[in-house]
């Protein structure tokens, strides 16, 4: 139902969106600010949008209240924080705003701000999926779907035809045969399937901060790709010297130690794609995060072979994000640069710190693949 407040409300949301856009870098670099809520909603805390006025400083002013307690007893840092009984006060809100967005809106903000191109999915031609849309009318159906306007229009038509319509006393009584119900039509919609495979190095040199950066970055990548594809699958692979597939929880929380053999992850990813995601109907994205410290040159060579032979030809994009760590040498990035001077669907992005995450997202998604 549309309401009178809608224009004002959407104008307000527009202003909020503008604020978030202006501060996007801050929001991205401190990922914890963004709270997930349910499946597809996020909340973003922001300073309340307040109009300036001449007013007293609240810390100077103090207040009066009722209740037990001795002089000197603490009331906490902000006694005004809790809102008592709900009242439609004439006072403007002095609250912290918590802006609520769907992931789609968030993705759009990200896309606007980073000027990300939309992705042209492949596989459109091959896969079609049926989809129901409520845009038809039928003569039978459940009462809850009755279309009142149509029903009465039919009744009016019938009465006019039968001559029982009285212009001065326009009473319209629908009969059973006048009833119309909303119904659905099935249509074939092209469908693009997409899967994101995240690979992460969990060797000893990847610390908590490094993992946090990976988590933030993959959240945004996820958000953007989910906006681009309806229905997307995510798979997670962690590796040290051996690779294994895990769920997302484990992916972000695991703390391992030991060495690094990147090839193990690449081989596993290649196996996974070949087994489950045939290239003609799937858009496959692989993102690998590591500190760039591989075990040996031989293993690096093995990685390149897998990339060249089994991964790059089949997938939309391979992103390699190298997070800086105090222990890692960062050699792998240089090796990749040398081995792949032409990078059609391979993106390399060094992530020095949290502030670099935004640029890295731009690197990864800026190609429109």
């Amino acid at each position: 139902m549309s309401q009178r407040i809608d224009p004002d409300h959407s104008r307000f949301r527009q202003i909020v969106r503008g604020q978030i856009k202006n501060n996007l870098r801050k929001y991205i670099s401190s990922g914890e600010l963004i709270g997930k809520k349910g499946k597809d909603r996020v909340t973003i805390p922001m300073p309340s949008i307040d109009l300036p006025r001449f007013k007293y400083g609240s810390k100077d002013q103090g207040g009066v209240s009722q209740g037990p307690g001795d002089v000197g007893d603490s009331l906490g840092a902000d006694p005004q924080a809790g809102d008592g009984e709900g009242q439609a006060g004439s006072e403007p809100g002095q609250h912290e705003l918590e802006a609520e967005f769907t992931l789609e809106e968030l993705a759009r903000i990200l896309g606007d701000e980073l000027e990300l191109p939309h992705i042209e999915p492949k596989g459109v031609r091959t896969v079609r999926a049926p989809r129901d849309k409520y845009n038809a009318i039928r003569r039978i159906g459940p009462e809850s779907l009755k279309h009142f306007k149509r029903t009465f229009r039919e009744a009016l038509k019938r009465q006019i035809i039968m001559g029982s319509y009285d212009r001065d006393r326009p009473i319209i009584v629908p009969r059973r045969e006048d009833r119309r119900y909303r119904s659905w039509k099935e249509s074939q919609v092209p469908q693009s399937n997409a899967v994101i495979i995240y690979l992460m190095d969990v060797s000893g040199s990847m610390g908590d901060e490094q993992k946090a950066m990976v988590r933030i970055e993959s959240f945004w990548i996820d958000t953007w790709l989910r906006y681009q594809y309806k229905g997307i699958d995510s798979r997670y692979i962690i590796h040290d010297t051996k690779a294994r597939e895990v769920d997302s929880e484990t992916f972000y929380r695991t703390k391992e130690s030991g060495g690094t053999m990147i090839s193990s992850a690449y081989l596993l990813a290649a196996d996974l794609i070949e087994a489950e995601f045939p290239e003609d109907s799937w858009n496959v994205y692989v993102f690998h995060f590591s500190d760039g410290d591989n075990w040996s040159r031989e293993d690096t060579q093995k990685c390149f072979d897998t990339l060249r032979g089994r991964l790059l030809p089949r997938i939309n994009l391979f992103g390699y994000g190298q997070v800086k760590s105090p222990y890692g040498s960062g050699q792998f990035l240089h090796d990749l640069e040398e081995a792949f001077p032409e990078r059609e669907n391979l993106v390399l992005s060094p992530i020095a710190d949290r502030n670099a995450i935004m640029d890295s997202i731009r690197d990864f998604l800026g190609k429109g693949k």
Binding site: M1, Q3, R4, I5, P7, D8, H9, S10, R11, F12, R13, Q14, I15, I49, L51, P52, R53, F54, K55, Y56, G57, S58, K59, D60, Q61, G62, G63, V64, S65, Q66, G67, P68, G69, D70, V71, G72, D73, S74, L75, G76, A77, D78, P79, Q80, G82, D83, G84, E85, G86, Q87, A88, S90, P92, G93, H95, L97, E98, E100
Partner: protein
Amino acid sequence: MLPLYLQEMQSQVEAVARACGLNFFETRFILVDTKTINEVAAYGGFPSRYPHWRFGMEYDRLAKGSKYGLSKIYELVINNDPCYAYLLEGNNLVDQKMVMAHVMAHNDFFKNNTYFQFTNRKMIDEMANHAVKVQKIIDRVGIEPVENFIDVCHSLDNLIDPYSQFIARPPATRDELEDLIEEARAAAEGNQEPETAKKGAPRSYMKGFLSPDRSGAGRTGPDKTPPPSVQLRREPINPTRDVLAFLLHRAPLEDWQRTILELVREEAYYFAPQAMTKIMNEGWATFWHSRLMTHHLMDASEVIQFAHTTSGVTAQAPGQLNPYKMGVELFRDIAHRWDRGLHGPEYRACDDYEKKKHWDTGARDGLRKIFEVRRMYNDVTFIDEFLTPEFLTERLFYTYDYNRQKSEYVISSREFAQIKNRLLFQLTNGGHPVIAVTDADYVNRGELLLEHRHFGVDLELPYAKSTLENLYLIWKKPVNLITQIKDRPTLLTFDGAGHTSRDLPLASVGG
């Protein structure tokens, strides 16, 4: 249309309320769902307001509050004749009945409290007119400039003088002064009744008691001579707290801006009495809804629900002042004291505790007294006159202050004088700082000078600076504010490019 069972309930409640002496405008209840009540509440109770995002923000907050069960609007009532009030669909019947009784008392308060006498009782229509006016302006000059200008107006809309309607202030501008002189001359010649403006016209019986008498009737010869013209050159002639009126009069505004500033000011004055009587109004309504319910309207099966809801309304969280609770308790205290004669010099002079405890003159004058109070007082005078040390002690009042070492608020006092002073301070001028225009040609450069009367609490500095920026947008020349920062008199200036802050010698500050 209200469903029949609610109509019946309304006539029942009205009959009982009337029998108890409440005297109210015709009341129209509207039954609405949560979404609509949030919408209406966001618009301050009015069905239509001019478009502005702030209403949208308020709606967002209310909608979230009700969605997550943090807050619920029980009742919403508009000071208008007929009085409109909203009932929330799906509330149980005990609550609906209670809300009706509550609304009747608010309605009575609007109608009879003296501070509401000059409010526009057709404000619903007026608000709708404002909406149309603003929409037309938007159609002509575009949404962006209008929205930005409304932002500016809102940030200044506490710069009004709520008492100016009740006290004839000395004239601020030359035009006003000339009007007064003209009026006085006309009245003296006796060929013309002074125009009784709907705003600010003193009652006839008050004539002669008001200093600079606006009606002109009590004015005697010598007073009428205009002050020397030297003074006339300066504006304002007298400092005025109605900054908005002064800006309307003197600021270089475009016509559409003047229209908007004017209507924002009008709405600010309309809402001012509600801010001035928050504790009284809510106390009065709570007093009567519980009295009507417990004495007349309720059967045994409804007691639990009534008690539950009322306890919610008068709940007290630490660090907050609940106007419902404070108001109703103070009204009850007054009724009690006047019933038993616990007032007056004799009672006050008595220092025998036992005697005082059982004091009863049998006056039974409580009801009459509280009706008198609801007519003649506002929150400031209400607290000032009727707060007693016993009341504050029994009800465990305290003041709290921010402790910078601990970074938290702590209870600072339970002394009567402290609590009362703090309360009066918070209620004075609706809790807004008192600021007046004192010079429109400051340092002979056409700069605007405002003065803040400092009562011991500093302004929030970042806010004050941003507000000066907004003021500059209207005045279009540098704007200045004299205030005190950490006990030092300071002149804040915004000249369009940047802020400066300068210490002043102590003497230059009034206060």
